[in-house]
Structures are given as structure tokens and as C-alpha cells.
């Protein structure tokens, strides 16, 4: 042992810098981040880490160094099966490796590990070539990452399974003259996402064991929720999506309809003809928790 044991914090900062180093533990030992805490060379490593009868100190440290990235890349593979299928295992691992360096975990739970993955992919994407024709496949990959991360959040978050969701028929109980003032309260798990590709179909095909080809670009308005503890997704048309967006933004139904009429080219009569069916579908899908009129829960 050393004559005076080093401080615990010093040893921990050093070991963390060594095992998290992307070039491996030798690179880690030589890094400034590690040497700031313990100035030891690879040749003198036994001053910090003892050897065993069968392994030298570097080999022993490598158990932790190898496991750090391997374990966390494995977690990301599990969470992003569709993205991995789209780019292949090797490329995925490369992105995951880069991500873990840019956004190392600050959380006690692995559920937070990928929180910034799609953002990282966007930050590091090469600039789109305006002269290049054809789909922007990088955008497809970023969309996939965002979708799969959303699936994780919706799966783990609060859902409607306890029964506190708006039931079909409850909307009919609102007097017609008060409809315009009614506000639908979304379930916390409801997500509205716009994509440039039908990423949901690709992700589902992969999760079902298929081998899908990347889809052609297509404006995709996705509503994501949860029912019976399974994440559900539904592609909807633009007008329905804008109506849902207005409701999620907290607008009363009258104001939401007005916004949709201003934002889209739909006619009032056409919207009125569809909206009743939408409400039934949304209630069956358990998108909403309650309906309030004038601040009072009437569901």
C-alpha cells in the first residue's frame, strides 16, 4: 500500500476517469482527467491498483473499462431496436459509443440513459446537401430515435389503466350550449409527434421480427398513447392532428376549432361532420383524462 492512503474521492475520480475513457484504460490512465487526481504512469500503475497472481493491474482495470461501454451500449440496443435495424449493429454501436461520451449518465436509473439520444444524433448529423436528390435518410434515423425514446417514456409514465380516463359517452353529457367552453384534459402519456417518414410502421415491423426496408418519405402525424400497459400509436390526418394539438395546448373546444379553421383549409361544415367521430375514437383510445367546463370536471 501507499504510505498514506490517498483520499477516497481522489481514488474514485481517478478510477472513473480511467474506466470511462473512450480509448481504454491505458488511455484513461494517461489522460489529464485521471492524472489531475492521481499522477501515475502506466508503468507505475501498481502504486494504485495491485496485481493478482493471474492478472496484471491493467488487465484487472480493463474488466471495468470494457464493461462500462459494453453494458450501456447494450441498454441502448435494447431500447432502440428499429434504429439499430435501420443502420446495422456496427454503425449503431458507433453512434451509441459517441453518445455515451457526449452525454454520460447523471441518473441513478438506466431509464434516463437515452434521454438525449435523438438530440445527439441531430447535433452530430452532417449538414443536409441541398443539391442531393432523394430522401433525407439521416432525418429518418433521427425520427426513429425520437419515436423509440418516446415509446420508453410513455411505457413508464402514468397511464389510463387505473380507469381515470374519459369514457365514451361522457362528452355527450355536456349540454350543447356549453360545448364551446369545454376543455379536454389529456392523459399525461399522450404525445403528438410529426415525422417526415412513417417511422411507426417501420418500428412496429422490426418489433414484430420483420425485416422492413426504409420507407419513402411521407408526412406523418402520430398520436401516441397507452392502453392496457402497451404503447399505442395512431397516424392521423393533418386536421385531426391540429385539433388534438390545440386541445393539448389547453384551448377550449370552441377556440380549438377556431384555430384549426385558421391553420388549415378545412371548412367548418367538414370539420363539424368529423369531430363527433374523432371524439368517440379518442375516448376509446383513452387519450383524455377528463372534460372540464368553466374549470369544473364534468366527466
Amino acid at each position: 500500500m501507499s504510505e498514506t492512503p490517498r483520499k477516497l474521492g481522489q481514488v474514485q475520480q481517478w478510477m472513473q476517469a480511467v474506466i470511462m475513457h473512450p480509448d481504454g484504460v491505458v488511455g484513461g490512465i494517461e489522460s489529464t482527467a485521471a492524472q489531475t487526481h492521481i499522477d501515475v504512469s502506466v508503468n507505475d500503475i501498481e502504486q494504485v491498483i495491485k496485481r493478482s497472481q493471474a492478472q496484471n493491474s491493467i488487465e484487472r482495470l480493463q474488466v471495468y473499462g470494457n464493461a462500462y461501454f459494453a453494458r450501456l451500449v447494450e441498454v441502448l440496443r435494447d431500447e432502440f431496436p428499429a434504429l439499430q435495424h435501420a443502420i446495422g449493429e456496427e454503425a449503431f454501436d458507433g453512434f451509441a459509443f459517441g453518445y455515451l461520451q457526449a452525454y454520460p449518465s447523471h441518473s441513478y436509473t438506466l431509464a434516463d440513459l437515452s434521454r438525449n439520444f435523438s438530440q445527439y444524433l441531430r447535433e452530430t448529423r452532417p449538414p443536409a446537401d441541398a443539391e442531393e436528390e432523394g430522401p433525407d435518410w439521416i432525418e429518418f434515423l433521427i425520427d426513429l430515435a425520437a419515436l423509440e425514446r418516446t415509446y420508453s417514456e410513455v411505457f413508464s409514465g402514468p397511464g389510463p389503466e387505473a380507469g381515470d380516463h374519459l369514457k365514451p359517452g361522457e362528452l355527450q353529457e355536456i349540454p350543447p350550449e356549453r360545448w364551446a367552453d369545454a376543455t379536454l384534459i389529456p392523459m399525461p402519456c399522450l404525445r403528438l409527434m410529426k415525422f417526415g417518414f412513417p417511422v411507426h410502421e417501420y418500428a412496429t415491423a422490426v418489433r414484430q421480427g420483420g425485416d422492413p426496408h426504409p420507407p419513402d418519405p411521407q408526412e406523418t402525424n402520430l398520436v401516441i398513447g397507452r392502453r392496457d400497459f402497451v404503447v399505442r400509436r395512431k397516424a392521423v390526418g393533418r386536421v385531426e392532428f391540429e385539433m388534438l394539438s390545440a386541445i393539448v395546448d389547453g384551448l377550449a373546444l370552441g377556440d380549438a376549432i377556431q384555430r384549426v379553421l385558421e391553420q388549415t383549409d378545412v371548412e367548418f361544415e367538414a370539420l363539424a361532420a368529423e369531430i363527433g367521430e374523432w371524439f368517440k375514437t379518442w375516448a376509446a383510445a383513452q387519450f383524455f383524462r377528463a372534460v372540464e367546463v368553466g374549470g369544473a370536471d364534468v366527466s
Binding site: M1, G9, I19, A54, V63, G157, F229
Partner: protein
Amino acid sequence: MLEPRLGHPNIGLGLGLRTVHYQHILQHEPKVDWFEIISENYMDTEGRPRYVLEQIAERYPIVMHGVSMSIGSTDPLDFDYLQKLKRLAATVGALWISDHICWTGVASLNAHDLLPLPYNEATLKHTIDRVRIVQDVLERTLVLENPSSYVTFADSTMPESEFVNRLAAETDCGLLLDVNNVYVSSVNHDFDPVEYLESVPHKNVVQFHLAGHTNLGTHCIDTHDGHVIDPVWELYRLAHRLTGGVSTLLEWDAKIPEFPVVHAEVLKAKPFIGAETESAADVAETVTDSEQKPDEAATTTVPHPAAYVVAEAE
């Protein structure tokens, strides 16, 4: 004078609850004495894992086993984490809460690994102080597990067994004696596992862990991906004799086989503790896959201290 197991009951032979076995457990209600959960997989979720846990907790005793307390870290304790832990324990009626003698990160980072401590006086004092705080917050005895480890520090001034002994003596914490970890670390650090088992404070031992590991020739890795090997079963026999018998839990966290295979593995403990052999019902459930072997070629050599719960989506 301490009561055996610090007053905790010996609840028999249990299994680590894993998502791939949810359906089997709910459908068949297998004759398992108790289940241990990975605390972090249930603390924040409001999805299926939590729903299933609450159903299982109505039918089986539950013990909570964490991987993120980081009791030995020099970072501040995470009191939000501790409060979540406490709330979950109250909700599922957890008999006890355990974690590891380790640290998982520093400077606000988390390596999601069970990293070893240098065993010396300063580390011991630091850990004692934190165990006392945690026990005050949780308002219960904390149970701590000896980790598998792969390095030893020049800054250590005492063997792990002495560190464990003195930590337990100062804090009255419980010990989760992982017999497989004792074996793994004894290979990796060239110590005698029997001496280790003989030296730990037996009345503080609340629980045993058993698991499979991977032997790479020069060292062992705690992979939790296969059967318990015979030398570990022999150490378990000794540990049982020394402690008078405590609750025993089998962990299987990678390449997890069908539930009956895992169940059969923990039932192998019975002859080592002088218990009755399996009932006819146990045998009927376990016979199907009991010869299944892990795929050696596919063995991963990454320790698996934490599991990630994959989302179910259409």
C-alpha cells in the same frame, strides 16, 4: 445481543423477479417462497412493471435490492432517491431493503456499475457515516451486499472481510452475503473463500445470494447468466451452517431461461441446507427444462448489476 438475522425471518428460497417471467408467475403462481426486485426498475415506473409488482406483492413476500444507492461514493447521498426507495418499500410491503458495498459514480456521473472501494480507515468511517444516515432516512436497517470485484487498491489497509465486519459492528446494518461473489472475488484476489465466510459477522447476515458466473481462466466475472457451480454450492452449505440458515435468493440476469429452469436452480439449495427435497408439484414444474444449459458460445462477459426494462409497444 443481536438476534439472528437481525430479527428478520428466514423466508426460504426466493428468486429475482424479472420481466420475462411476469406472465408465468401471474398465470401459474409457482411455489416460490419470495421474490426480490431490482428497486430502480420499479421506483419511477407507472407502467406494467409496477402493476405486475403490486399483484405479485399480494401473493408473495417481497424484498427490495438496489444497485444505485452508491453508499461508498464521495458524492452527496441522493435523498430524493432514498425517499422514493422508502415509498416503494411501504407500497409493496418490502421485508427489507438491500444494496451493495460499493460506489457507482462520482462528480454526479453514474457508471451503472458496482465499483469497488479501497478498504481503509477513512473509507470505513465515510461508509459508516452514510449507512447511519440512510438508516435514519429509511427508518429501517439497511442490508448491504459484498460485491464481486475485479481490482484491489494499493490504498487498502484491510481485507474486505474486516471492512464488512467493522461496518456491520458500527452500524448494525444487515449483510446480504452473496456466496457467489465471495467465490468470484476469492479467485480474482487470491484469498480463501472459506476464511472469508468464517470471518463475517454471522448474526448480521439477513440473506444469501446465489448466481452463476463466468470463469475466464485468469479471473471470474459475475455474469449471472448460468447455473450455480458446485464449489459455490459447497460454500453455500458452509454459509448455511455458520449462520443457522437465512433467506436465500437466486439471481439470473442474462440469457434468462424459462421460469421453471430458474426455479429448479434455487430448489437445488435444499439438499445443502438439509431441507426436504422437492415436492411432487415442484418437480413437475421443473422437470421440463432442467437439463437446459446456457449457450456457452454466447456467454457475455459483462457483469450485470442493473437491468433495463424494455418498453412494450405496438
